[in-house]
C-alpha cells in the first residue's frame, strides 16, 4: 500500500530522447510506482513535451531515493505551497472561497508537511488545527466563528482511488447502473465480501463493518426474513432507516401485516390501515424499541434482531412520519450527525430501496468504501452517481429478491 508520494514534472524533448521512459523505468526498478497524471507531447520537433507524474513508494525513504535518482534526469518536484486558511466569519458560515471536499482521500500541506484530512466526506469544509498540525472535515453547520478553514485549491491534494485488491464487481470503482446485467454475479461478489468481513471481525483482523441503509419496501416486498437472518448471522453491524421500516417490521410481528396488508395472504385485512399506528403507539407506551424487545412484546424481525445482535441503528425521521417511534431522530441535522458518527469503520455499504437514505448515506461515505445501491427504480442509483458517489455499483432489482438471493448465497436455507 502506498504511504508516500510526490508529484514531479518533466519538460523538454523527453519523448524522443527516451528520458520519460528512463525516469519511469527508474521509478519502477527502485520499488516505486507512478501515475501519469498528464502528458502533453509537443506538436512539432521544436515544441517541448511536458509530463506530470505522481511518484509513489511504500516508504518515505524509498521515495527519497527515487527522487534523488530521477532528479538528474530533469524530474523536478512540483512547486508546493502550504494551504491557505481563513477564519470563519460567523457560526455556521464558511469563509468565501472555502475548499469544498470530495469523498476521496485528501491531504493538506501545513508548514511544508502533508497532513491527511480526517473523516473524508464530500461537500464539507476542512478545518485545520495549526497547533497540533491536524486537519479534518467539518460540516457547514458545525463551524464556529474564528475556526481556521482551508480556502482555494493551493496546498490541497486529492489522492486518486487505489484499485481494490479483489478483482470483483467493485474493482473498477465506477458507477455502473444497468437493469440488464446479470445480477447473480454482483450479488455473489457482495456475499463474498460480507463473508470475508465477518471472518475478519471474528478473527480480530479488522474492524470493518457492513452498513445497510434501507427503506420500508424491504418489508412490503418480502425481504424482512432475509434481512433478519443477515443481522442474526452477524453480517450487518450498522442499520440506517427511517420510522417506516422499523414500524412496518414490528407491525408484521404484532399483526402479521405490512401497512395493513397481510404478509401471507396478499390482501388488506379489516382495519389493517391502522396497524402501523397501533404498533407505533404500543412501542411509545413501552418507551423504546429495546424495551419492547427485551420485554418480549416484539419477538421476531429486523428490529428485534438488531437489538439482540447489538447492531448500531440510526433512525432518521421525515416530515410525514406517524408517531414517530421512540428513537427516531426528528431533527434532520441531528440525524445527519448521528449517521456521520456511525460511518467510521464501515467497509461495505448496501443501500437498499430507499432514495433519500441512499443519497444521504452516499454523501457521508468516503469513496474508498465499496457501495452497492439496490433499487427497483434505475433513477435511484443514477441519482446517487450524479450526486458524486461514483464508486457505487447500481443494481436495478427489487429489494426482496436482492436480500433473499444474498442470504441464500451466504448460506441461508429456505
Amino acid at each position: 500500500m502506498t504511504t508516500a508520494q510526490e508529484t514531479i514534472v518533466l519538460r523538454g524533448h523527453i519523448i524522443d530522447s527516451l528520458i520519460l521512459a528512463k525516469v519511469l523505468d527508474l521509478i519502477l526498478t527502485m520499488g516505486g510506482s507512478f501515475d501519469l497524471d498528464r502528458v502533453e507531447i509537443g506538436r512539432t520537433r521544436e515544441d517541448p513535451s511536458h509530463a506530470r507524474i505522481i511518484v509513489k513508494a511504500p516508504t518515505l525513504a524509498t521515495l527519497t531515493h527515487i527522487l534523488r535518482a530521477i532528479q538528474p534526469h530533469g524530474a523536478v518536484v512540483e512547486q508546493e505551497r502550504d494551504c491557505v486558511v481563513r477564519p470563519a466569519p460567523a457560526d455556521g458560515v464558511f469563509p468565501d472561497e472555502f475548499y469544498s471536499t470530495t469523498h476521496l482521500p485528501t491531504d493538506v500541506r501545513l508548514s511544508d508537511l502533508w497532513i491527511e484530512v480526517q473523516r473524508v466526506e464530500m461537500d464539507l469544509g476542512i478545518i485545520v488545527d495549526l497547533q497540533h498540525m491536524k486537519a479534518r472535515t467539518v460540516p457547514m453547520a458545525d463551524v464556529r466563528k474564528g475556526d481556521l478553514i482551508v480556502v482555494g485549491q493551493a496546498g490541497v491534494r486529492v489522492i486518486p482511488m487505489q484499485r481494490p485488491r479483489e478483482r470483483d464487481v467493485f474493482a473498477f470503482m465506477e458507477a455502473t447502473v444497468s437493469a440488464e446485467r446479470p445480477h447473480s454475479h454482483v450479488i455473489a461478489d457482495v456475499a463474498r465480501r460480507m463473508r470475508m468481513l465477518r471472518e475478519e471481525r471474528r478473527t480480530g483482523g479488522g474492524p470493518a463493518k457492513v452498513l445497510l441503509a434501507g427503506g420500508p419496501a424491504i418489508i412490503h416486498a418480502g425481504g424482512r426474513d432475509a434481512l433478519t437472518w443477515l443481522v442474526e448471522e452477524g453480517f450487518i453491524q450498522v442499520l440506517f432507516c427511517g420510522n417506516a421500516l422499523a414500524a412496518h417490521d414490528m407491525e408484521a410481528d404484532l399483526y402479521g401485516t405490512s401497512l395493513g396488508y397481510a404478509m401471507n395472504a396478499g390482501h388488506a385485512v379489516p382495519h389493517g390501515h391502522a396497524h402501523h399506528l397501533r404498533t407505533i403507539n404500543r412501542i411509545r407506551a413501552i418507551g423504546s424499541i429495546r424495551a419492547a424487545v427485551e420485554s418480549g412484546v416484539i419477538e421476531r424481525g429486523i428490529m428485534a434482531a438488531c437489538i439482540r445482535a447489538g447492531v448500531h441503528v440510526v433512525m432518521a425521521g421525515t416530515i410525514r412520519d406517524d408517531g414517530p417511534l421512540p428513537g427516531v431522530i426528528t431533527d434532520s441535522m441531528q440525524a445527519q450527525a448521528a449517521m456521520r458518527e456511525a460511518i467510521p469503520g464501515v467497509g461495505l455499504a448496501l443501500l437498499v430501496a430507499s432514495t433519500l437514505h441512499a443519497v444521504a448515506t452516499g454523501n457521508l461515505l468516503p469513496a474508498a468504501v465499496p457501495t452497492v445501491c439496490v433499487d427497483i427504480n434505475a433513477s435511484v442509483p443514477t441519482k446517487l452517481a450524479d450526486r458524486g458517489s461514483f464508486q457505487a455499483v447500481g443494481l436495478v432489482m427489487d429489494a426482496a429478491s436482492f436480500l433473499n438471493e444474498l442470504a441464500r448465497q451466504l448460506g441461508r436455507s429456505l
Partner: protein, 266 residues
C-alpha cells in the same frame, strides 16, 4: 568562411583537478603548450581557412584557453555558460564581456542551471544533442530549445572520462557522426542510432576515443584532430574528409584537445 573564438595559452596550467584527466602533479611544459597551440592556429587559419577571433588571456584563469566552454553562439545571439565548478565560474564574466564587446545579443541563464556551452551542446542543422549529468544540467536544454527554436535531445554521459559531450561526440558537416558509443547509456545509444543512419555513424575505437579522436574540429570537408588516431582518420578519409592530425598532448593533460580550444562563432 568560418570564424572561431580562441584564447592564447599564456596562463594555461593545471592548478586544480576537476576531471579524471587532470593531475596537479602532471606539470605542463609551457613552451610546448604554446607551440602546440600555435600549430593548431596555423593549420586552422592557413590550411582549413577559418578566421580566428583571439580573446585576451587572464592570469589565474588557466582554462580560459578552452573557449568551447564559453557558451553557445547562433547568429547574433550568444548564451553564456554557467560552470559547475567554482574554479571555472570565474571565467563566465570574461566570456560574457567578450560576447558583449563583439556585439552579440547575450543571453544569461539562472545561476541554478549548469551549462558548459558548446562542450555540451552539439548537433546538426535540424537537431541538436545536449550532454548532461557530468557537467551540464538537463533542465537547461528546454530553455535553450526555446531560445534557439531547435529540438535538443539530451544524452546522458555515463563515463567520467568523457565528461563533456564534445569529448565523445562529433557531428560532421556531411551529416555523419563520429562518436564513442560506450560514453552513453543504453537509452542514449538507442536514440543516436535512431537519429543517425547506420552508414552515417562512424564509431571510434576506445583507445582512440581516449586520445580524444572525437574532440575534432570539422569545417567543410576538413577535420582537425589529435595525432595518434589512425582508425578514425581512415574512416574520415573513406567519407571524403581531409584530416589534419596535430600533437596536442599538453592540453590533453587537462582533458581537452582541438575542439575544446575553439568555439564556432558562425
Amino acid at each position: 568562411m568560418s570564424r572561431l573564438l580562441v584564447c592564447p595559452p599564456d596562463y594555461f596550467d593545471i592548478e586544480y583537478e576537476i576531471n579524471p584527466w587532470m593531475r596537479r602533479a602532471n606539470t605542463v611544459d609551457h613552451a610546448s603548450a604554446v607551440a602546440q597551440w600555435r600549430g593548431l592556429m596555423q593549420v586552422l587559419e592557413q590550411e582549413v581557412g577559418v578566421r580566428l577571433e583571439r580573446m585576451s588571456p587572464v592570469p589565474e584563469l588557466p582554462d580560459l584557453v578552452f573557449t568551447a566552454n564559453a557558451g553557445v553562439v547562433v547568429g547574433r545571439r550568444a548564451v553564456v555558460s554557467r560552470f559547475r565548478y567554482p574554479e571555472r565560474q570565474r571565467e563566465e564574466a570574461y566570456f560574457e564581456d567578450w560576447f558583449r564587446s563583439a556585439g552579440y545579443d547575450v543571453v544569461t541563464l539562472e545561476s541554478e542551471f549548469f551549462f558548459e556551452g558548446a562542450g555540451d551542446l552539439l548537433g546538426f542543422s535540424d537537431c541538436w544533442f545536449g550532454g548532461y549529468r557530468q557537467r551540464s544540467d538537463i533542465r537547461v536544454f528546454p530553455l535553450l530549445s526555446d531560445v534557439f527554436m531547435r529540438e535538443i535531445i539530451p544524452l546522458e554521459l555515463v563515463d567520467g572520462r568523457f565528461y563533456h559531450l564534445d569529448t565523445c561526440f562529433c557531428p560532421l558537416s556531411g551529416g555523419e557522426l563520429l562518436y564513442f558509443p560506450a560514453a552513453f547509456d543504453k537509452d542514449g545509444q538507442e536514440v543516436i542510432t535512431e537519429r543517425v543512419s547506420d552508414e552515417s555513424r562512424l564509431v571510434v575505437p576506445e583507445h582512440e576515443a581516449l586520445r580524444f579522436a572525437c574532440n575534432a574540429v570539422c569545417v567543410g570537408k576538413q577535420v582537425v584532430l589529435p595525432a595518434g588516431c589512425p582508425e578514425t582518420e581512415r574512416q574520415l578519409h573513406s567519407r571524403g574528409y581531409r584530416t589534419h592530425s596535430l600533437r596536442l598532448g599538453e592540453f590533453m593533460k587537462s582533458g581537452g584537445s582541438a575542439k575544446c580550444l575553439t568555439l564556432a562563432l558562425d
